[in-house]
């Protein structure tokens, strides 16, 4: 294992190599199912004005962010969440 790291480029992660300060892999959140009716949960992904936070801020992977986005839009359409504040 350690030999890999020493000699080969194979084992290196992102940002490996000289210079220190490499890229750090983000921890992401994955939610299998999010309900548009679950307003309290959806609010956690929104700013106080009702805007959807960035994926980075939500630490969501692409699938999760898309699900949250769709759920928020449905909730807005049915009058459960506001479009603006």
């Amino acid at each position: 294992m350690s030999r890999d790291r020493e000699y080969g480029p194979g084992g290196g992660g992102p940002g490996g190599g000289g210079g220190g300060g490499g890229k750090r892999r983000r921890r992401v959140r994955r939610i299998e199912f999010i309900d548009y009716k679950d307003v309290p949960t959806l609010r956690k992904f929104l700013s106080p004005n009702g805007k959807l936070h960035s994926r980075k801020r939500n630490s969501a992977d692409a699938k999760t962010q898309n699900k949250v986005q769709a759920a928020v839009k449905r909730a807005r359409f049915m009058g459960l969440l506001s479009y603006t504040n």
Partner: protein
């Protein structure tokens, strides 16, 4: 040594690994032959609370009649999801609305006719029709249940 290790591992699996809550289906299952040709739909309907409180049973009957009889599909469950819930913004001059949630299985080709009928029905302020691959969690929960299960306040601010 090895005994210790297994003991610790055993402990961990007891305390750390929590069995996920068992999923109990809330919707009745139909004949597998029917389930093959149909899909599971979730339909949310929005009504004027005054109208809904007066004629709720008639509205439920209307839905059952439309989906069950006229379209010949299978209504699984009809719930009052929220009674006179405050809207986030005014819709058609109303500040509150009553929501009906209908779970049904239907052949996909019938949904076009269904939506057409819903659009013609003036008592329905808005509707939302979704397809599900399988029964999602939380069927049968009302708006109050969702609000009551609200987690602790946001981490920051």
């Amino acid at each position: 040594m090895s005994d210790d290790a297994t003991a610790v591992a055993g402990q961990e699996s007891d305390t750390v690994k929590k069995e996920p809550e068992e999923f109990k289906p809330q919707l009745p299952s139909l004949d597998p032959e029917i389930e093959k040709t149909t899909r599971l739909y979730e339909l949310m309907l929005m009504f004027d609370p005054a109208e809904a409180s007066r004629t709720w049973d008639k509205l439920v009957e209307w839905v059952n009649d439309l989906i069950g009889k006229r379209l010949g599909q299978h209504v699984l469950r009809v719930d009052k999801w929220a009674d006179s819930r405050k809207l986030a913004y005014e819709i058609k001059g109303l500040k509150r609305a009553t929501y009906m949630l209908v779970w049904f299985r239907a052949e996909p080709k019938t949904t076009r006719e269904l939506e057409q009928q819903i659009r013609l029905e003036e008592r329905i302020l808005r509707h939302l029709l979704l397809v599900h691959d399988s029964e999602p969690p939380g069927v049968g929960q009302t708006a109050e249940d969702f609000d009551a299960a609200a987690p602790p306040p946001p981490e920051r601010y």
